[in-house]
């Protein structure tokens, strides 16, 4: 096993990886931007080194600087987490060249799956069902794409070849909308990924998003760790994930699991990956893409299988074989994850920034919170607005739902606007409880965070007490000789509303 591992990430995932490293007796090394100087991920690691700068490009995306730190401080391996450098083949290659283990698939594996057009072709060749579509070549013009779109049949979906996270995606309902949509899509793709290549495929209406966790070792063994359903999405980004999927029958699960393993074996995949599928209303499934990293939602798999996926990643990266066979894996119960974001669900999910004034995550049996923030953490514009992940386990889906609902009602975050109440609405929705979850769930059921009902008197009373109490505290701090009374009027000196 490794002696020292650098975590090339921030936020909750960096904290979570450090926890596994420490439990395994491996020294954990954090890196941090200026803004993250005293962030939880820095405080939770054994060692921490600055990257300087604030934006992702200046800090967490600076592969050469991270490798330099790793070499200088005797790091054996780098865990990239998710996002940032996790799916960057050049970075994985640079690690290899520097004699440092990249905890993830090989640069070749990342490259092969990173280009969605290539990946889809490889899967189709391996006999994995794919969405009917056309990828074309760089030299093919818009006319050819229009012809192919017609052949596939409208509605069609335009997608950036190098895309991800919902950027550079457009649904085109009819032929006449294609030229404008294609232009927008190309522009978005070029801006977001530096590659304007776009492909077209059949638009599957009301699909579910079901993905399979896969693990391969360097001996060529591949297993799947069952599915996660991630249909609840806003702006094409997942916010609620669960396992098992309420939609899969044992037969369908078996077929999809086999396809996922076949997909991984086709490209000699090693380490953790996720094979994403769309499942239509008839129960037909289509390969979507492979994510060559640890997923945000990996904890639900950990909860039902009793496994630490980061520990497993480390063992495989260190050359050990998979410690279990497919047959030995028996998931237990049901797990759900909610992503807690600093965003305003009532205003187009705009990110909310500010300083966290109060942070009290819920706790109790079978409740796990992976936090990237703490009280007084500043949520800045520089990074993703996900604050934490709330994961619960239950013997049944119903038990897990009730536990999640309770936990969301007990999750206190003050200082930034969060999606907690929005998540409550989803979890307690009748259709969600019935397991009728599709990727357009939030739109179809018009889920709104808008609070309903009058404000309880208790809220006003609590607000008055909090205001009074904190004003009193502020005054004590000024040391102006009036320290003992919390009933002084601070506004008299602030010249506001004086003496009204």
């Amino acid at each position: 096993m490794f002696n020292k591992v650098l975590i090339a990430n921030r936020g909750e995932i960096a904290v979570r990886i450090a926890s596994t490293l420490q439990q395994m007796g491996v020294t954990s090394v954090a890196v941090y931007s200026d803004a993250d100087r005293s962030a939880p991920h820095v405080l939770s690691a054994d060692e921490a080194y600055p990257l300087e700068g604030n934006s992702a490009a200046e800090s967490y995306l600076r592969g050469e600087k991270i490798i330099e730190i790793a070499r200088r401080y005797g790091v054996d391996a780098i865990h990239p987490g998710y996002g940032f450098l996790s799916e960057n083949a050049s970075f994985a290659q640079a690690c290899r060249d520097a004699g440092i283990i990249f905890i993830g698939p090989s640069p070749e594996g990342i490259r092969a799956l990173g280009d969605k057009v290539q990946a889809k072709k490889a899967m189709a060749d391996a006999g994995v069902p794919v969405v009917p579509g056309w990828s074309g070549g760089d030299s093919d013009g818009p006319d050819r794409l229009a012809k192919e779109a017609k052949k596939i049949g409208y509605p069609v979906l335009l997608k950036a070849a190098a895309g991800g996270g919902g950027k550079g995606m457009r649904v085109v309902a009819a032929e006449k909308e294609l030229p404008a949509a294609l232009e927008t899509c190309r522009r978005e793709a070029a801006a977001a990924f530096g590659n304007s290549r776009v492909f077209v495929e059949k638009y599957i209406a009301h699909p579910r998003h079901v993905e399979f966790q896969i693990f391969g070792d360097s001996q060529g063994n591949v297993v799947h760790l069952f599915e996660r359903e991630c249909s609840i999405q806003r702006r094409h980004q997942k916010i609620v994930e669960e396992t098992p999927s309420p939609a899969l029958t044992p037969q369908l699960r078996g077929r999809m699991g086999d396809a996922a393993v076949k997909a991984a074996k086709a490209i000699g995949y090693a380490n953790a990956g996720t094979v994403e599928f769309l499942v239509d209303e008839a129960g037909q499934f289509y390969f979507l893409e492979v994510n060559t990293r640890l997923q945000v939602e990996h904890p639900v798999t950990e909860m039902t299988l009793g496994l630490d996926l980061v520990a497993l990643q480390l063992r495989i990266a260190a050359g050990e074989p998979l410690p279990f066979s497919q047959e030995a894996l028996r998931p237990q119960g049901h797990a759900i994850e909610c992503r807690i974001y600093a965003e305003d669900s009532a205003r187009g999910f705009l990110p909310s920034t500010g300083v966290i004034r109060a942070y009290h995550p819920p706790c109790g049996p079978f409740i796990r919170v992976d936090s990237g923030v703490a009280e007084s953490t500043e949520v800045s514009v520089y990074y993703d607005a996900m604050l934490a992940k709330l994961i619960v386990w239950g013997r049944t889906r119903d038990e897990a739902l009730r536990r999640m609902s309770w936990a969301l009602r007990r999750f206190v975050v003050l200082g930034v606007t969060t999606n907690i109440e929005f998540l409550q609405k989803i979890i307690t929705h009748q259709e969600f409880a019935a397991g009728r979850t599709q990727t357009d769930f939030l739109v179809v059921h018009d889920i709104k965070a808008a609070s309903d009902g009058p404000i309880p008197n208790e809220v006003y009373m609590a607000a008055a007490a909090a205001s009074e109490c904190q004003n009193g505290r502020k005054q004590k701090g000024t040391g102006d000789g009036r320290a003992n009374s919390v009933y002084d009027d601070p506004w008299q000196r602030a010249s506001a509303w004086r003496g009204v």
Binding site: D344, R347, L350, V355, R357, A358, H360, L408, R409, R410, V412, V413, L414, G415, T417, T418, I420, E421, Q424, S451, P454, I455, P456, N457, E458, V459, Y460, M461, A462, A463, A464, A465, A466, S467, E468, C469, Q470, N471, R473, V486, Y487, D488, D489, P490, W491, Q492, A494, S495, A496, W497, R498, G499, V500
Partner: protein
């Protein structure tokens, strides 16, 4: 004892009178809502966590004050209120003439609209100026009726917190809190 005037974006202002203070460890208040005598007991710690005890039972809350915006988590929801006026009950006869007051920006932001002219009279809780900050609209009003002496801002202007936006004169003998 202090009276705290609070305003939410959706409801008319509410006045909370903290009627008595207990001690021992955390602060304890008894509060009266809008002059009604339905009293509750509030315990609160320095960090802003506490509980409200009423006839319905004891329920926890968390509160945080930043500038004049107070956020309260209660019953699984988070509420944002503005402290529009907080002061101590005045003893009788402490003022002889109509006081001149300043309406200051409770937060940094943009002036969206000015609803009154200098010299104009206004009613208690009438909208005087509307501000926007952090994409949130806030109506500035006075808990008392009065007259506008001077308006010191323009619509569209970006103002820092505490900036005096208008000077007001309260109507004589209209100090309902004394």
């Amino acid at each position: 004892m202090p009276i705290v005037h609070l305003k939410s974006p959706s409801e008319p202002p509410v006045a909370i009178e903290l009627v008595s203070k207990g001690s021992s460890g955390s602060l304890r208040y008894q509060a009266k809502c809008n002059e009604q005598t339905a009293e509750v007991e509030i315990s609160i710690t320095d960090s802003g966590n506490g509980s409200v005890r009423s006839a319905r039972g004891t329920e926890p809350f968390a509160g945080s004050l930043t500038d004049r915006i107070v956020e309260v988590w209660f019953g699984g929801r988070t509420y944002t209120l503005e402290v529009v006026n907080q002061r101590t009950r005045r003893t009788a006869g402490s003022h002889a003439s109509a006081p001149v007051d300043e309406l200051a920006a409770p937060m940094p932001g943009t002036i969206l609209r000015i609803d009154v002219q200098p010299g104009e009279s206004f009613e208690a809780h009438q909208s005087l100026i509307i501000m926007e900050s952090m994409k949130m609209e806030m109506t500035l009003s006075s808990p008392h009726s009065g007259r506008v002496i001077e308006v010191k801002c323009r619509a569209g202007e970006l103002v820092p917190m505490g900036r005096v936006l208008a000077r007001l004169e309260a109507t004589k003998n209209d100090d309902r809190t004394s």
